[in-house]
Amino acid sequence: MKAFTYERATSVQQAVSMAASNPDARFIAGGTNLLDLMKLQIETPLHLIDINHVGLDKIEATDDGGLRIGAMVRNTALAADEHVRRDYSVLSRALVAGASGQLRNKATTAGNLLQRTRCPYFYDTNQPCNKRQPGSGCSAFGGFSRQHAVVGTSEACIATHPSDMAIAMRALDAKVETVKGDGTRRTIPIADFHRLPGDTPHIETNLERGEFITAVTLPAPIGGKQIYRKVRDRASYAFALVSIAAVVQPDGTGRFAIGGVAHKPWRMGEADAQLKAGAREAARAALADARPTEQNRYKLDLVERTLGAALAEAKG
């Protein structure tokens, strides 16, 4: 870990202006991923802005009947919130499927969206990785890729996004609210928040430098059976091989997002439209452009079967 200077922000405005005045700064909230990566010098900020004291820790109703989740709301608090449990249970389910109790107590809503891939080659600084060191190559391609992405990949990167929370948010059409260094605010649909790797896998979101996430909003509740089904080798405390966040209405229509298969939470309108036809049709539509490796080809089958499980549970 490189030495860094440290300061504490007590308001969003202060945090944003601190960042604007220091090009080498990073915000730190829960720190559960950033510090992990700093210890390995995969992240090397020279300055940390502690945003744990800026507020943004409330979950409030929005004017359109939805919810606004403050960026600093911890994963535990979000999962346990009575409105989320009642109206957006897929989100609660996704949150508690992730990490461990200790990590969820620290991890924040914004930080969870921004966590980086768990690709083992990204984590090993001796190995080429385009995400860590642009242009050095992708070691996972042709290497140990059992857990890697099958769709939306590029020659440059086959890493997955590791979040469970973001998969549920993608199914719920969440929006990310931000403020930039110059004080302008914007709202980014979660579909546009994360990027596919393309030629620039090191750029993972469409946030600008110094842009600060203030909240995630959820639209008004959409009802339906809400299911988060995470498949992993061990029963807990593991990243998904595949996960499905599904919201299924009584008439069999609905929507679903897939985790563990892409560089971002994966959802296709065409696939949602096929949901009523069944898991096979919907999964095939979602993964139509998949380019799996030998080691992760099973994920195509697994997505279909996991979606099948989710749909069976929705009917059940």
């Binding site: 083992p120 290497g143 080798d233 061990r234 499980a309």
Partner: protein, 734 residues
Amino acid sequence: MKFEKPAEMNPIDRMKVVGQPIRRIDGELKVSGQAKYAYEWHDPAGSHAYGYPVGSAIAKGRILSIDSKAAQRSPGVLKIVTTLDVGDREKGKFNTAKLFGGSEIQHYHQAVAVVVAETFEQAREAAALLKIEYAEEAGSFSLKEGKLSAVKPKDAGGSEPDTSVGDFAGAFRSAEVTLDEEYSTPDQSHSMMEPHASLAAWDGDELTLWTSSQMIDWWRGDLAATLGIDKGKVTLMSPFIGGGFGGKLFLRVDAVLAAFAAKAIGRPVKVALPRPLMANNTTHRPATIQRIRIGASRDGKISAIGHESWSGDLAGGQPEAAVMQTRLLYAGENRMTAMRLATLNLPEGNAMRAPGEAPGLMALEIAMDEMAEKLGMDPIEFRKLNDTQVDPENPDRPFTQRNLNGCLDLGAERFGWKNRGKPGSRMEGNMLIGMGVAAAFRNNLLLPSAARVRLDRSGILTVETDMTDIGTGSYTIIAQTAAEMLGLPINRVAVHLGDSRFPVSAGSGGQFGANCSTSGVYAACLKLREAIAAKLGFNSADAVFADGEVRLGNRTVPLTDAVGPDGLTGEDGVEWGDLSETHQQSTFGAHFVEVGVDRFTGETRIRRMLAVCAAGRILNPITARSQIIGAMTMGVGGALTEELAVDERRGFFVNHDLAGYEVPVHADIPHQEVIFMDEADPYSSPIKAKGVGELGLCGVSAAIANAIYNATGVRLRRYPLTLDKMLHQLPEVA
């Protein structure tokens, strides 16, 4: 004391303290954070520095140069000691790969430097600034490819690489029912919770090292050899060890780096291996490919059994002895085993809990299940039918005790085996439910072990031995042994372990620790009893030590009076005669597992587990049971998740941390049941105990594989038994 004849009645047989469910005497220290592990010793003057190790970025080749200028300038840096600086060094005799010294790189993450700084943070930062130039060489990293050119090993760890009895080929060819299958087990990591760590302090030319070692004396000798100093100049201390499983049997590089670094700066230095370095820097259980052939008559009698195993290691290494149990476990007149070794440039393969038997039974006990099915027999009946009470290679050698069939029967009854249905026939919700069984087998090994006991005038009996407690319960069972021998309550016994100034013990490994170390304590206690008796003018053979007193006829003397103001000491050790040659000493068990397999996703979850063990006298049913449940848990990992993933292009284990290498977590493990058969084996030792710590692992993973088959009808032969290997064979669900 030489143990040459089967034990007769002795004070241990009283079983007033030994064999009782006594809570760990170090328990309060461990639950309150007061047990100090290697990295936790501090100098009150604040004078120790921190060393941060640097691992090789390549798997094979040479270091051309190390530029440490930038690191040297980094704040707080005191010294950088590189492998080039220390030059070629004598390799420890228990190590295959050299740990440190010279320019040759034998495996990925081999230590190439240690950066020493005032603080941990400074050392870690500077470690990233070393610029190392390598000349990389091509290596062999695939066992599948290496199998083609594997050779008969010169050194198979003391066992025969090839064995043959009768006419295996002919008998197999003519057998009515045959099985010929290939199985594979992956590289596995010990992944103990406490990383390898050492604190080294020099006083002139004498070194004191606090470390985390299973085998004090082996480490002491190998460390001295590596440093080029007399063994007598090294004092090693390892009172608490945060798990080992074989990973701390042999000298590790943290000790070497700390010693070199401390010497270089003239101050104590402590070094811990960062977790991401452990899997590739240290040893692992090597992967195997195994071929098993079984031929039997239609009524289930085995006539031919053959087991071949291929594994890889660095040049100079040994095979994983996965065929060992097959020489002893089942009857059959015609038999063969063979081990072949490929040279691989992966990190050193070496002992991990139940080396040989653990991966061997992972394969053999699936094969037995498959064979039973071919025969249309219950797998328990098939095993029982092929039981043998003598060494099948040499019928003149009887087993000292062998109650495998009793374990299978009792387990079947307790587990509800009769409710096991046909494959794929039981479903609850979305879970396909199945039961599996496997035999457990592990030999009883014997190593010399010594101890010193001292009874002081306040009535405290102090035991000193360099034995280690890696979580096995050594502190407690040694206290129980000494208490029993002197007729004292356990709270009058103090136990000091893990210090090289004490008599050399067997150490912790090969499930020999409990039986051997308590035998050494027994021997020392006999000496003390003799000394006490002599002082009182008693004939020691007739004196009775009980209730804090020594009695002869109608004379009774409190021990506190008997030892006098200066106390009395006894020191001795146990050595072993040829009973293990004339007789076969082994431990046995049966594992029962019930699994649920998700019919959609193929996820396997364990629902119930039972182990029934026949392993000689159980010295403490609490700590012995913990050994078994812990081993069963490791067996769950070995069955379902654990695999060091090899990158065959770059030659290293890719998933080299605890996120990537998935060991079981709480949610994977149900309530576990353990039953011990009531045994005492007079051939094993005066204590009449045998080991349990490895037995508990042997066979578990195969029982899980068999349960998966019973649940789904899918037969998996390649570990770990992950869903991707099963999915395409599961019934359609859409």
